[in-house]
Amino acid sequence: MKKQIPLLIVIVLSFLFALWAVIPHKVSEDFFQGYLVFARAMSPFGVILGLMSITMVNVTKIKRKAPTWQYSYVTLISLYLTAAIGFIWGTSEGSPYIWIFKNIQMPMSATMFSLLAFYISTAAYKAFRARSAEATVLLVAAIIVMLGQVPYGVMISPKIPAFAQWILDVPNLASKRGFGLGVGLAMTAVSLKIMLGIERSYLGGGD
């Protein structure tokens, strides 16, 4: 029963929503509005789950003195301190809460991903080789698209951006559509499996 009732909720709600999607009637709109009120009231509680998860992982790491356990203190202290600062001094512009975000979180988050620029350049230098006919096609397409995007490409020849755009508009479109159709059908199949109660891994293990 611990699994069956939630499963029943999913199946009933899924069928109701499938009907809602195709029947634009007042009854179906009222049903959606009711769901909206319900979903809104439930929405803040998901955060508690995330908070508990990150706290438990780090506390366990500290307790077990796992490798680099000292850094877990940094995670926990910064997490609860940021939240406390937000509650005490508010979240409006000019508050310490926004200062932390702007001067600590934002620069670090932006820099973390910018490291990839160095790695992709090294990869271009050390690994991007025309080893086979297929790899050569990939390489040539990449170079044309790369040069076609920047002002220097236009300066070399106005045909480069036009050719790059053609690559994106025609062969690239065809290949991405092929992938997209496959992914779309697979997603529909998975959704149908959830709707019919065949796929239930999202409910977790146990009885």
């Binding site: 909720i9 803040p44 937000g86 670090m108 820099t111 397409a141």
Partner: protein
Amino acid sequence: MFEIISNLIAAFFTLAIFSFLYKDNPMYRLAEQLLVGISVGYGIPLTWQNAFIPFVYQPIFIQHKWYLIIPCLFGLMYVVRFSRSLSWLARYPIAIGMGMTGAGVVLSMNAGVLVQMRSAMQPIDNINMLLIFIGTVTVLLYFYFSKAHTGFYGKITKVGVWFMMIGFGASFGNTVMARISLLIGRIQFLVYDVIMGFIK
């Protein structure tokens, strides 16, 4: 002055992350964990202010819509997710959230498959349309594994491989631009905001 100090602190954390390029070091690790902690901690007061107050506190305690206690109880069931004996209760809020899948079956079939197929079957009145048609069909056939990719069929799927390689190339070209852009953003900050700000 305050802005200069703030920018210097932001620059310090930027460089702490960049220091990983030389080698892994305690400064980088500290910055990494700080980033995780602040990112999660940041969301809590915002959720309180933008979701809990308007959707839970005000309707229940001020407008006295007592029936909203029911969805709140469902929401609270998330909390017992980590309890061994009560974790099954967390299935209820998950199930309610999954309910919208039904709408997804109908609408994503339309957006992701039917509209795309309709566009793939337009009249072939120029060479580009022909190429798009050939490319789409051959890429789809490449992913059909119930028939061995040999003989004439193998040659057709090979055409699909060429189209895919061009597609991957286009993606790679764009990826280079994306990654470089992110670095440009950081260097623009260091050059224009920090160094120029300091000189001013």
